[in-house]
Amino acid sequence: MRHTPSGLSVPDPSRRALLRGIGGAAALGAGLPLLSACGGGDSGSDAKTVTLGSNSSDAVPKKAFADIYAAFTKKTGIKVDVNTKDHNTFQEQINSYLQGTPDDVFTWFAGYRMQFFAGKGLAGPIDDVWTKIGSSFPEAMKQLSKGADGKYYFVPLYTYPWAVFYRKSVFKEHGYEVPTTWAQFTALCRQMQKDGLVPIAFGDKDAWPALGTFDQINFRTNGYDFHVELMAGKASWTDAKVRATFDNWAEILPYSQEGSTGRTWQDAAQTLVSKKAGMYLLGTFIGQQFTNATDRDDLDFFAFPEIDPSFGQDTVEAPTDGFMLAKSPKNKAGSLQLLEYLGTPEAEQIYLKSDPNVVAASTTADTSSYSPLQKKAYDMISGAKHLTQFMDRDSRPDFTSTVMQPALQKFIRDPKGVDSLLASIERQKKTIFASS
């Protein structure tokens, strides 16, 4: 479940997740963070070792990262001591982890979530690294890697876009054309429904997928700038512009798969695999569900259609994962060397070899080994005027998890109650953004 964009979701309820819940419940009696919960290894105090806290707990990426570190050790003689934690646990414990004795370098996400910890002084600036690796990254990636103070805090490794996925064979069979405007898109939805297909597959049991749908409709309707203001808590949720976003959403809700609040994204993706659904708006990690090679080759995507011509399709949602430096690393020189290496095309290529669902964050990485889908994703991201991360990476996580996730689930079930819903969101937003 590595690619789930939300840090607060557990795609499959696992025993581990539950125990964490219980543990959390026990701890919250105290309301005190478990400061000592996750200290890094102390073995990294010598100059020849760098410790690294990783959230890559799945076998494939874990191996891919291990290959990168091995290559780094070979090159520099510095050992990387990796402390891997379950992906979701890592995210949930990040607060106490960074306040305790974190590892020298740790995996994290670009954008607001990175800036938050940089602003709290829990991460170290790495401008020195960027003077060396800066030339291989596009401007949008540079923006994503900077804190609010203008310093660099983040080294991006890979990224992936959100888009509307479909099966080429289904479109060919029914003679559908890829829609580029809202009118074409809604017409296609109607046609698919007539043809006995579920036009838009949808699963929001884990509550974060709907955040992605909102993002797309909102920046297509109101543009990137308004979207950013809204995420930052500056624009009002009772603004007529937000209402317009929800009106557009309500227009396609009848074409979205029924019973979505009880369905996981994996189950929704399966309806696309089995050709029962026509389209599905999701990140490229949908590829994980296409396990059969022929199905995989049949998978394609297009950018979410244009709604307002003045914004066109200029914004792409492309969550980016990478690395940060702890506030006081034990081996700073070695850590900087490692971060510099992680910012090279070489490191990115080692990683991409084993994960075909993502693309390199740098523009200098070799794209010759990309699959057609990866090439398309790469073009989409490098051609974007603006990049967004994902609602819960672009806004305060407390706001998105405790207010937006339940609110959007409610909207999906009852689109008519949108006015009172937006008023409620705005009320809660004010108090959350006021307390910081």
Binding site: G7, L8, V10, P13, R15, A17, L18, L19, R20, G21, I22, G24, A25, A27, L28, G29, A30, G31, L32, P33, Q91, E92, I94, N95, S96, Q99, R113, K120, L122, V198, D204, K205, D206, A207, Q257, E258, G259, S260, T261, G262, R263, D267, Q270, T271, P397, D398, S401, T402, P406, A407, Q409, K410, R413, S424, R427, Q428, T431, I432, S435, S436
Partner: protein, 334 residues
């Protein structure tokens, strides 16, 4: 239980007026171990240190983990804190509570669901558990097998229970929708997501488990009923129902009290089942889940989450204090 029996096993601090432990080890010849001098300390230095540890450490842990944390939580309920550094704690008075009561759309449904949870547990699984217990108490054949079967859901972790039922209710591939053909577009039943259905769906799972629990409690109670009572009542010509209603059930009073308390606790701490089932989505909000969602994870609204926890604590106290008062009064009388 006589005092002298219990002494060797449990060293109590005020044990100076009872024979030394050695005395009980060889009760037949107490003279053999008679001390050569007049007064001998009953507890050696090492004993006292050990005792100090045995009594002190749990006390310390209890105070630190229960009382200090509970009070800290109450104090934090009047602050906002993102969990980073103690200097970011800010006093906000009653703001968290005002916000909670006025503008949190999940709070009142959560309170309501906790109450529904309690009422349902009392109305359905409790009588059912009593019924099963009465049947099993009749020493029918394979009673052990039945007991095990009904009690098994209690032994299984709630996380597993939630996971299994979630598979049963899965709208696309679940057992129920597949059997009744409700997984096709047009006649879809969303057991997990539909706010009118999901609480009842998850309550079925909760009842399934609670019935076994109640059965065991009542079975234990029934085993303690004096058989001569039944005999006397049947001699008086009472039928089975009359015997149960007028003789057996009144003697189960202590069990009923335990059942009531257990059920209240169960309904207040209901968490794991729902958390696994659908994460407390609309329709299944519970106070415990709201606390968790606000405090753990990156959201870290520790002050606000503590305020919800305090509400939960107050509700628990309102329920538990009358019970404790009743119990203590009874003990004093006895």
């Amino acid at each position: 239980m006589s005092t002298s029996d219990s002494i060797p096993a449990i060293p109590v601090p005020g044990a100076s007026d009872v024979p030394p432990p050695g005395g009980t080890r060889a009760p037949s010849s107490p003279q053999r171990r008679k001390p050569p001098y007049g007064h001998r300390r009953l507890l050696t230095r090492r004993d006292r240190i050990a005792l100090g540890f045995m009594a002190g450490l749990p006390t310390l842990l209890h105070v630190a983990l229960v009382w200090v944390t509970a009070f800290a939580s109450v104090a934090l309920a009047f602050t906002t804190w993102d969990g980073i550094g103690f200097d970011s704690i800010k006093w906000v008075g009653l703001r968290n509570f005002r916000e909670l009561f006025d503008s949190n759309p999940q709070f009142w449904p959560a309170v309501q669901h906790n109450v529904i949870w309690f009422v349902v547990l009392i109305v359905i699984p409790t009588p059912l558990g009593l019924f099963l217990a009465v049947q099993l108490d009749k020493n029918i054949r394979f009673t052990r097998v039945y007991q095990t079967a009904f009690f098994l859901p209690v032994v299984v972790s709630l996380a597993v229970t939630g996971f299994v039922w979630q598979l049963v209710y899965n709208p696309d591939t679940g057992l129920i929708n597949s059997l009744i053909g409700a997984n096709k577009p047009g006649h879809y039943i969303d057991w997990i997501g539909d706010p009118d259905l999901n609480l009842w769906a998850v309550l079925v799972a909760a009842c399934w488990r609670h019935t076994g629990y109640m059965m065991i409690l009542y079975l234990a109670g029934l085993k303690g009923v004096d058989p001569s009572l039944r005999e006397a009542s049947s001699l008086d010509g009472a039928n089975e129902w009359q015997t149960f209603k007028n003789v057996i059930f009144p003697t189960l009073r202590p069990t009923n009290t335990i059942v009531l308390v257990v059920t209240i606790i169960e309904s207040l701490r209901a968490f794991d089942l729902v958390y696994v089932f659908n994460g407390g989505a609309q329709g299944t909000e519970l106070l415990s889940i709201l606390v968790t969602n606000n405090i753990i994870g990156e959201s870290s609204r520790i002050g606000y989450g503590s305020a919800i926890a305090v509400v939960l604590l107050v509700i628990s106290l309102v329920v538990i204090i009358p019970y404790l008062v009743g119990t203590f009064r009874k003990e004093r009388r006895a």
